[in-house]
Symmetry: C2
Subunit: 150 residues, 2 copies
């Protein structure tokens, strides 16, 4: 195989991972900009909401629900804890740390909700409601398929 045809432009533009990463970058910038007044990023609001919905919950359980590496989530939650948005409670099994959202964290979430909705509405307007639905369906399928241990 010749060096100069190692990759073609068609292949490059067809990389599922590269396109996912690029889309994540541009969309994350949009959501983060919308959330700027709250001091929360979308990457922080996600775990906060998940803990609020499913907590008290351990790091490992939350990591599985969110498809985040345990060790990554451990450090993410440490930041949220330092800022007073979440707290931990030790269970009977002293290996566990169960996270829940503090009142301060609830306040930040309540403040973030309308801004998140604006960002989501903007995406809906940009893509169209049907396309957004289709995208979410595709992404769910990707997440389930690619995270399946096999």
């Amino acid at each position: 195989m010749g060096r100069d045809i190692c990759f073609t432009t068609e292949q490059f533009y067809g990389c599922a991972c590269g396109n996912l990463r690029a889309a994540t970058r541009v969309v994350t910038r949009q959501y983060d900009e919308a959330l700027r007044p709250t001091g929360l990023r979308i990457s922080q609001l996600g775990p906060l909401v998940a803990i609020s919905l499913f907590g008290p919950i351990s790091i490992t359980e939350l990591a599985e629900k969110m498809f985040i590496d345990r060790t990554t989530l451990s450090r993410d939650l440490r930041l949220l804890q330092r800022r007073g948005y979440v707290r931990t409670r030790a269970g009977n099994d002293r290996r566990f740390r169960e996270f829940s959202v503090t009142p301060k964290g609830q306040d930040s979430m309540a403040q973030a909700l309308p801004l998140w909705q604006q960002a989501q509405a903007r995406m809906r307007a940009l893509l169209g409601n049907d396309n957004l639905k289709a995208l979410l369906a595709q992404l769910s399928q990707v997440i389930v398929a690619a995270s399946d241990k096999s």
Copy 2:
């Protein structure tokens, strides 16, 4: 609005950004695992291929093509340069640094190509060819729409 209904599960699962980020995490892990023998991550192979296809090219131009922040790409390319995969050439305008791929970088790309193809084929098998096509089309639309300055 009551605190305990600040976000609902339906809203949470419908966040375009959160789902994109989760999909990117699981898919990146798949591609990175496939590429492990080459010592390249998919996040490094992308810029390398882009420079190979479009170079010599400046950081700012490449950043626009890949929808990456300039300063992020600057640091990413520094790592590729240290490892000898890319080199820079100063232009007449001494502000510019034009990047191109070295022979060593071409070798790594040639080694990575079949492994990348395996990962891509696995995604195609997991989703089905039509779904993968549809996903890529959706992502292109997202990237264009969300990165439009307006």
